[in-house]
Amino acid sequence: MAENEDLAEKEREKNRVAMPEQEPEERRRNFEEVPLGYTPEMAVAEASRCLQCKSPTCIEGCPVEIDIPAFIRLIKEEKFDEAIRKIWEKNRLPAICGRVCPQETQCEGRCLLAKKGRPIAIGNLERFAADSAREKGLKDLSPKPEPSGKRVAIVGSGPAGLTVAADLLARGHQVTIFEALHKPGGVLVYGIPEFRLPKEIVADEVESLEDQGAEIRCNTVIGRTITMDELFEEGYDAIFIGVGAGLPRFMNIPGENLVGILSANEYLTRANLMKAYQFPEYDTPMPKGKNVVVLGAGNVAMDSARTAMRLGADSVRIVYRRSRYEMPARAAEIHHAEEEGVEFLLLTNPTRFLGDDEGRVVGMECIRMELGEPDASGRRRPVPIQGSEFEIPCDLVIIAVGTGANPLLTRSTDGLELNRRGYIVADPETGETSIEGVWAGGDIVTGSATVIEAMGAGRRAARSIHERLTRDLQPSKSVED
């Protein structure tokens, strides 16, 4: 019996259509996208595995509630244009989500097939539908809504802001997106590397918003260039804050300011936004290392490690204080990093950095850890093993241990209620903040999370903003979904 089950499982496992990828040996030295995408035949074959459940659980796992079985059925029927339209009903950025969502903990994690084998490759299929539409130049052709005459200011052009913009445009409101950097896209542009999310895709999505009438104002720091109060004075009827949680966290251990130790934010922003990996064709320099250490084990850590590998490092090591099981990165990113030769030094924590006479980092002292009782996060707490210190040589250290709330906007805005960690307090259902007419969502509310969660928050906020704008004179705080 058990043997039969094993066989059946292997059969299903085998049946999942793998997405072709650049070979690890080749891709570990280039910045081109790693997964190459499904062919139509592959997509149809994978879509055919879907059980088309009567009460689908996958949708519950999707923060924006895409009708997953419906779009998969349309792919199976080779109605690719209709498939993407089905996705667009709920998600305007599918080419991005298909690539960066943590599907294994969301939609795919709830797939019934996962109980016995590999879940249906929802992310791959979403990407396929979006890419085929892009290649064909297919646009969201929903009829232009009646202009409402309302104007909404969106602060931050990351996934939350872009989603709010798309949803409000579709409801006839005028939107202006304010971006502090010189390019729109937020973390999609400065944070996620080209080999995981080609910047052309982000640019396309932004362009399509502009086609629909969105105004995008880059180089505008709300809180500095223009204050929140001035936005209302300029006549905006509502403001959405989606500025992300862009304050890098450091380890606060000795030697951290040595040359060659950078936050992942800095490292990735140089590489992605400034295109420093193409230095000197681009003017921003990229710190290079022969022996690179990345601290942390989330997606940002994997992105940093894989970037360092592509820039020609001899060795790249992820140093993480917990075990493999607790690593927060998407499974696919860990797998890709490993295939590309990134090593994992687990249950290890740095205790200090070692420098030379010129103040450059040359090594790191670490201590071995073991797992103790579960902590507040439910994960077993790593505890140092006394006397187990050891040194590793390194000439570049990238710190990817998370981010905190950037206080630039929140500090300059009176009356905006923050929690003790500096994040904006917002209603989880509506995104409303303590200031009338101001909504917030994404990492600046929840702390570091995922692209799709920020988009989910954007979606809910857009719904609430729309209701408020169209029910103008009602003072009620509660907004029904």
Binding site: T220, E266, M286
Partner: protein, 277 residues
């Protein structure tokens, strides 16, 4: 796009003044704050503290020294050309209030940053003693402007070609002995700011320095500009750029400023090769 409406060369073409259209920044900027400029698509983001602003004309003025690829590229922009990107005002403004007698000390291009601060301190009702210095007389600039906003102005050159033959620190030493200073503001090379802070520390004279470390975004996101102040990391872009000189770890700052020296050389060489071709 941000058009250059006025361009001047100073100090034998080593120092460039650009007055740039940036109405939103001009409307908001206060002395001590900086902007980030980027010349073109491939350009670097370069932070520069503003030397002046004109809210009515909607312009800001920056004065920078040509030191590498990016500033060479900036220098090649003529009147009527544009910077692709300008963002600001960034950082905390100088705290301008009446405290009594203040000394404003500037070295090299630091004088450009010092000028609006000096003017602000003068307008706040302080007695202002200014000391400015450069390597040679032809590298000195804003002398008349500084004189106009100071009660007393001392000029120094390293080679004696104008004013006092020697360093600004020598004049400051005298001033410290003769006057009761409530505040010293020092802007210039890191070594100069360090020496001045060491001179004022034993006398307990509050000393403000303006730092210009390596940074990318200027909004607290990259942490590249972190400076050790009183044993704690502070970000020059959002907490600064001005800090208490008695608390700044200048030695570490100097090391961090040298982080990309070899890359900068490579970039400048590549730029010159392209120009020569």
């Amino acid at each position: 796009m941000h058009q250059i409406v006025r361009r001047e060369e100073m100090a034998n073409g080593n120092v460039i003044l650009n007055e740039i259209e940036a109405p939103y920044i001009a409307r908001k900027a206060k002395p001590g704050q900086f902007v980030i400029l980027k010349a073109d698509e491939r350009g670097e983001r370069i932070p520069l503290t503003m030397a002046d602003t004109d809210p009515e004309r909607g312009t800001i003025t920056v004065i920078y020294k040509v030191v590498g690829k990016s500033t060479e590229l900036f220098k090649s922009l003529k009147e009527g050309d544009s910077y692709q990107d300008a963002v600001g005002p960034l950082g905390q403004p100088t705290h301008l209030e009446k405290v009594g007698t203040v000394a404003c000390v500037g070295g090299g291009t630091g004088i450009a940053v010092l000028y609006p601060i000096t003017r602000g301190l003068k307008r706040a009702g302080n007695r202002v003693i200014s000391i400015i210095g450069a390597r040679t007389a032809d590298r000195l600039f804003l002398e008349e402007e500084m004189r106009a906003v100071s009660d007393e102005l001392f000029v120094c050159t390293d080679d004696g070609s104008r004013g006092h033959h020697g360093f600004v620190t020598e004049i400051l030493k005298k001033v410290l002995e003769e006057e009761t200073l409530s505040l010293v503001v020092a802007v210039g090379p890191v070594l100069m700011m360090k020496l001045i802070s060491e001179m004022t520390r034993p006398r307990g004279v509050k000393t403000i320095v303006s730092l210009n470390p390596i940074m990318i975004d200027g909004t607290g996101m990259c942490g590249g500009c972190r400076v050790l102040v009183d044993g704690e990391n502070r970000f020059a872009c959002v907490d600064g750029p001005e800090f208490d000189g008695h608390k700044v770890d200048f030695d570490q700052l100097m090391q961090r400023l040298g982080a990309y020296q070899s890359e900068e050389r490579k970039s400048s060489e590549a730029h010159r090769c392209r120009l020569e071709r």
